[in-house]
Symmetry: D3
């Protein structure tokens, strides 16, 4: 029995080195990335047990995804394997001011987008888990994936498991209207909502005078136990600030703001989720925000979606960072 179960797509990730444009590259860095597996990997890295559920094509790319999940200690025993379909891909071109980084997706018709109703038997997977986590990317993949998401949420609710949901709106996958229609139903089952001000507005049309008000309105509207919001400033592409905040039970939890020399910002939100959920499950909302922010800040200083920071490093950073060389 694992502590946390997540469900979603993981893609092969391809990116040119050294700020090259894709058109000029002759070699690409190869890794994997996907919101829910990144969350599971982060939580596992911090110390709780996790399982990731998905549907994968049985070829070298599918196996690579499972290899790397296991490398982080994530259980992959309930993956649905198929000889059909494909593994989705995405390309990242890293920018530099005034050119933003950009992602080119090639994920249509992936194995998980073609998941069938009832293909995952959720009861044995979720039984005994403490938390189920999914993001808004999964139902956006296809009608079938939305249906499978609903199946998982229903079973988690039935089993009394805490449900965490990262809104993660992707305009290239579905319209705001569709995202609102499908997810409004889901929200009733959600305990913890992880979001940004921008996504909240795009999906639910909810705005406020500041992020505190947005969180409050969300709680009042949907009855969440916790709403937590990540906060990024991007004066340049490679120098950002990073913080987060939570609202729960009428209390506001603010965290410090980190100055980040960004090495790779992809996966920042998912690693916030991982840190938050780990902290939440082991010590409550306040510690969740603190660990989430620090864990995500550290992730942004190394390459890849997954986070190689240790729990000790997280706690050291929370105590205060010193930028001199450690020896």
């Amino acid at each position: 029995m694992v502590d946390v179960v997540t469900f979603g797509e993981t893609m092969v990730r391809l990116s040119p080195p050294g700020f090259q444009r894709l058109e000029q590259s002759i070699m690409l860095n190869l890794s994997i990335g996907g919101s829910e597996l990144t969350v599971a990997a982060g939580i596992s890295r911090l110390g709780l047990s996790t399982e990731w559920v998905s549907r994968l094509t049985k070829n070298q790319l599918g196996r690579m995804i499972v290899d790397k999940a296991r490398e982080f200690g994530v259980v992959t025993d309930h993956i649905i394997w198929t000889e059909e379909d494909r593994i989705g891909l995405y390309f990242i071109e890293y920018g530099a001011s005034p050119r933003a980084s950009q992602v080119l997706y090639d994920r249509s018709d992936s194995a998980i987008a073609r998941i069938q109703p009832g293909e995952v038997n959720w009861e044995p997977i979720l039984k005994g888990a403490r938390l189920f986590h999914v993001s808004g990317i999964t139902p956006a993949l296809s009608e079938n994936a939305a249906y499978a998401t609903a199946e998982a949420l229903n079973m988690a609710r039935k089993l009394g498991i805490t449900i965490s949901y990262d809104l993660n709106y992707r305009a290239k996958l579905w319209s705001q209207e569709k995202a609102r229609n499908i997810q409004t139903a889901f929200m009733k089952q959600v305990d913890i909502l992880i979001t940004t001000e921008e996504d909240t507005y795009r999906v639910f049309g909810i705005k406020g005078k500041d992020y505190r008000e947005v969180a409050k309105v969300l709680c009042d509207t949907f009855g969440f136990k916790v709403v937590t919001i990540t906060l990024r400033e991007t004066p340049t592409v490679w120098q950002n600030t990073w913080s987060a905040f939570a609202y729960s039970d009428r209390l506001y939890y603010e965290d410090v703001k980190y100055n980040i020399e960004v090495v790779d910002r992809v996966g920042a939100g998912d690693n916030y989720s991982a840190g938050f959920l780990y902290g939440y499950l082991t010590a409550g909302v306040e510690e969740g925000v603190r660990i989430g922010t620090a864990f995500s800040a550290l992730k942004q200083t190394s390459w890849g979606d997954f986070n190689w920071a240790t729990c000790e490093e997280v706690h050291a950073l929370i105590k205060g960072s010193n930028l001199r060389i450690v020896r």
Copy 2:
């Protein structure tokens, strides 16, 4: 007006360096590859003018394909650009004895597979050209692509242009039966057939006591002006022999057999086609075989589908190679 027009798909090509397995790689070499563009690039490299026709998605990958076609001097003025669909991909894992190299395709639903009837206006493209070339991969991509191939062949025939066809059977794209049904019709329009013994048997069920007889039966059956067959021996993955042969007008043209220290054998057949067609158009069948074999042998000693050998190098090799360092 170019000398040669070709039509088909070009994919992005991704391969791990240094005999790595895909699962263990963290970086991939990036290039492009596709039978008919490789032929056009090779002919252009040797000295005739060429144009390549295809349908491409308008993104970085589509632009990269056109960049690299132009780098070899291939005209790309009649590409059909679309905002939809995708650029196909393929992965190559290079083997070593006793493990063969293998290709993993991810080319479904590419832009050219979704080409529409009438989308290419063939008349202005083909008018004035000396030769039209396509391979059996193009009609295998989809019903639509097969239809477009037929349109091209019909127009070429109508304009009295020589037609060259590389049988190039791909079992992952269509069944032998489907390949036979569709291509039997095409064969009536073809002047020059480029093939291997194995493909001839798989597609048309034609066998003979040796490649000479196979060629003769093909000519007798379909009325080709020329049949040319490439001949490879693979005692090990990285030490091969390479030769070719043609049959035309009841004459047999044999060539020397090259010992190849293989650097990259992908594209060998297409570069034989390029060399053969260049030689055929400039000096006849005999020179075609000689240039085709030598040009393809040289190609196999450098990396990538395209051929960086020069016409001078080809002629020097035909005169006799010396393996000492040239300085």
Copy 3:
């Protein structure tokens, strides 16, 4: 018939990766670079047709230069090929504050420096073109190259083609005095002068209380239709600001100032020229300055002299940049 013709040297460019000093490197990045080809490539990338004229030694390095010109769609049909002489080279050591980047040239006796009078037949090349562009580097290469430059300018003038000239003073190639003597004659034929305050002072001894006055004095002195000046600030090696300005027909055209996280600043000026000339030819001086500044700002965020930004990216940047990841 192309829209724009340029004339000058392109060299092989060699640079150590990752801020290494040349003495410590064991591998060098290889590319090409040269002012006038960079301008032609940039204009072609933006959408007008271009041709580049030069003299090249017929070996692998000469062919590589033509390959890469063609990759950007630049016509190379009138290159003068020779079996003699050599392809010039330059090495770049990228610095970091407080160490500036530096270039080591090895370009003496290159093929273009040894061009002969009358070797280029300018009339068929220039006939029908809208603009001829050259920089002050070309006449600086040798007496012969200066003579060839004069031949080109004379023919362009005779054919009534607009002439654009980038002053581009290179102290290692000629003295200020020599640069003044030779170029003063050229200036009478020039319509558009592209320059910096520093070069204007070094070549013509012209100074002003600010760049606006400098531009005005230049116009008054030489009768240019347009003078355009690029403006860079370098608080650190890798964080610069970039802007440009034009003066034409008594009007001043100022542009916004971009904050640049510099990836590679080599080629910034040439890509300004490209963007300015494209904008000027398609929409006038004001659009020229806007496109030139934005196109050059984008170029500085990727590696190499050539610019892989698209026209769409330029227009998006002019509308306002957002540094968040695009997905």
Copy 4:
């Protein structure tokens, strides 16, 4: 409960790329390697469950070893972690004829060499397993490691688990005399001995007219159920042949001889062990030899100690290899 448990050291492995000598390198490929973990990883890759037991220093290098064990699905729940000692290292310089490849060890005083009596609680680890495997490297590391090996063997015997032992003599770690003294005692507990003719002679002084006789004498002397011997010929460094053989219950099991284009021969023996044990446990001695030889042959065609070949590839090779490209 896993099927197979192994026990031993894993080191960080550093090797210069491309046949460079260590003295001339400025970058090293980084991986891990160690006999018993390689065996566990191989068996897991083929489809049985495995656990690897060791003692590791708790730093980045120790964590890296566990990461990569988990990547192959090997359970690492009973690793002894320490803040003291160090992770051993080894350097490989790949040779080319007539220069052999060579290994430089830096493994003194590693965490496992300093393992304490009783530090591993073997009973819960071994209970329920089908097989325990260790090589002669583990007892060679130190007196303490030899003691821990004896503890494991005793418990395995007590629990009635099959014991497999790879003789793996390392002259740099102990003398032949010491190896004989300590291991002669161990041999009484061993069911399956994996060895080479050379090691058998060096450790036990046993020789025969051929490997068949050697195997028979070993069985007669120590009462093994199975003796299996790997057979390599090295006409050149990069072209080897590879086969294996087993003797069990008075029967001889010979296998085909593979021609290997060696990519990396390190780990060949351990992957034979993995394949043999997997085959033995699932289908008996004969299948063990077949799978062991093929699995190891495939391993030698990719880089690193671990084996990325799949069970499907092994069976395909046993059926007969074709060295043409697979597509």
Copy 5:
């Protein structure tokens, strides 16, 4: 006879590229590093002759260290070679705000830590030299190394050679108390102390209202001829400021503060020592500070412990830097 002799350990240095964490790397940059050899190499680069004394294991790693010392012109004629022991190693993980860079040492039981009393015959080495330099790392390695340091200092004192000592406290090698006890005796022989405020406090418990007072107290306490202190500010990991200061004969020598875009800060202190000692020996304390600060600032802009800046570049920087590209 060389001008300057230094004594200490040099290790192999391994670091992941591009901000990777060690756990995720598959390749490491390889170099060497060690305080006293870095000082000798820097002084040699600037123009005085130097020798470095150490004890090394005779294998590829030991030879690599000598190769690279010689590459900088450092004499290595009195190295003690041994077949035993090992070459120490260290790993660097480069950080990015808010993650500091960190060093993982693996240097126990290295050849120099096991140096024997009297193993170096100091008299012929030091005779005729102008200066002997050692850092506090050498005596921290082991009792034996401390003893050898004392032997060297005694001989240098006896021969009337100027002694320079860099305090360089390493908490992982010895306690503050031990460092104080052993080094307090050494200080009586030292002429020039190179230190930081932090190290001064940790080793001698000396604090002051600012670095000027610290230097004065040090001089008053130990009777140094010169105390020089380096000054670094680290607002972020990759943007630092750098300066230095000296106190000698009751005079204070301050230097400018450089803004550094840090490429590699390892070796900054040692290169300050090199620049200071070169300047001190050729032109006195004031020039020492100036050259030391500038030489060290330049070193931080390229990769590796050693400094590839030239004496000309140092003087150019002292005159004032211009961050535009030099061509």
Copy 6:
């Protein structure tokens, strides 16, 4: 006083990795190469002291050459430094059968080609040396370089130093006629001639029924003490055989023939010279041939002109090689 002095050009060497053609490369491996420095480096590596004399441009490339000479322990105290001229370059494209490797030189007008009469003061350099070595490349560079060669040979003869001369004919540098005219005069001063059958025929028109006769005729014609000839067979580009032979005082010295898996054959001849001269000076002609052949065979198994093999490895190979991994 060194044992051996050599004189000649060293160039920067640039080569694409992995069999790439130069036109397709985006990165080049950077090293240095030149016949006489390679000889000096090899002799130094084996254990005698050496000095290399040349003329170099004082820039990063000139310094890099001296750095790498010193890395091998070669004295560089009498290099003539100039601010003028340039450092020569060469590019290597590694081939694979049937494409030979080829070298593209760009060495015209290098610093040493422009050496002035009397610029090197040979007497203090050569006084006390045991041997002076030069190859036929040096006089081929220019009239001035031929004159400087004559100066060196005259002084060596005057001082009674043994003279070794490697014929090394380079057709791109001078005609056979010119090579014969200038070198015939030199031969009277030469004691040891190192050559191949092919070069002997091209320069002196001397042929024989086998290499033994060629050597005898050379000795009879010019009165050499020793003639030594290297022997290579190239069945493929990457599998060669290598041997050598000497004739001296009417005795023939034959050596074994090595099978070489070639990693880099450039520098093979120069490393034969180094090994032969080291062996000759320390143990006579017979040992010279043995060490020369083995040292050169080992060199061909690693990358670069210089030889990283040790004297121990050479002696081990002479005793007999074993291609199994050494551990």
